[in-house]
Amino acid sequence: MKASRVILVTGTSRGIGRGLAEHFLKHGDTVCGCSRGPATLKHRRYAHWELEVSDETAVVAMVREVVRRHGQVDALVNNAGIAAMNHALLTPAATARGIFATNFHGTFLFCREVAKAMVRRKSGRIVNFSTVATPLRLEGEALYAASKAAVESFTEVLARELGETGVTVNAIGPTPVPTDLVRNVPEAKMQALLARQAIRRFGTVDDIANALEFFLSPRSEFVTGQVLYLGGVNR
């Protein structure tokens, strides 16, 4: 699967998603990306869709167009996510709905549609995105952590539902990476978070790409339903 893979990555306009898209392009893959806004990446092997990941019609149309163009999707990287740092008691219901719409429903819709194509070919790799905020039970991130807990649970069950189909489903739980997502978190809070990791530093896109490539490897066909946290964090 290493040569000329077709990889669908969500949330590619910035941050980790953009970094991962660049990683795959550098390694010769074809990347189909999406985000709410226009593409920020230009490459002959990159195609972009402007959509909300929680919009079922748009997700169905994108995935089927990707399959029509390329005949397959080798891997799905469900990176798109939003966070809203706030005390649970101060979180508006609309914010909670928005977090779950992007982080959970978006992940679910892409998994459902891409898995349909993968099941037909009896092969594929799905990697969802969790966070260390979930196992660390971070105060101030209740809704974000809860939405990612839903992603973890979904990943584990979907892995079992697809267990005999040749499609693996895993998740990565990155530590904070200096991106827009964590830009508004106070410095003291961020340092306290890093102090709870075994390896106390920010993560990098390369750290994530390394874990991702493990799950995407053809040799990882016996690895499914796993959540891999970076930085030495445990559930």
Partner: protein, 94 residues
């Protein structure tokens, strides 16, 4: 050749029959899922995924067959070819 506009139930029925396992294609109204079907739940998943792609190729239209409407019906639209043809035509002709 993809065809847009209203879909012919007969073409849809032929497509459904061609997607069903060969052993299940006989009779006036073959069973799709349930007693008498070869499909287990994973088989139904594969069948519906395959059918969605074949419908897109044939009619140039995207449908999600496992919709809320399908799941909330008292009689499953996936029970036999006739029911599935009527249900898929309904989705495609919306």
């Amino acid at each position: 050749m993809p065809q847009s506009g209203n879909v012919s139930p007969e073409r849809l029925r032929k497509l459904i029959l061609a997607t069903l396992p060969a052993a299940q294609r006989s009779g006036a109204n073959p069973v799709v899922f349930g007693p008498g079907s070869e499909l287990d739940s994973l088989g139904l998943v594969n069948f519906l995924a395959d059918l969605e792609y074949r419908i897109a190729e044939e009619f140039d239209r995207e449908v999600v067959l496992a919709s809320e409407r399908a799941m909330s019906r008292s009689r499953s639209p996936f029970r036999d070819v006739e029911a599935l043809t009527a249900y898929a035509a309904e989705l495609l002709n919306e």
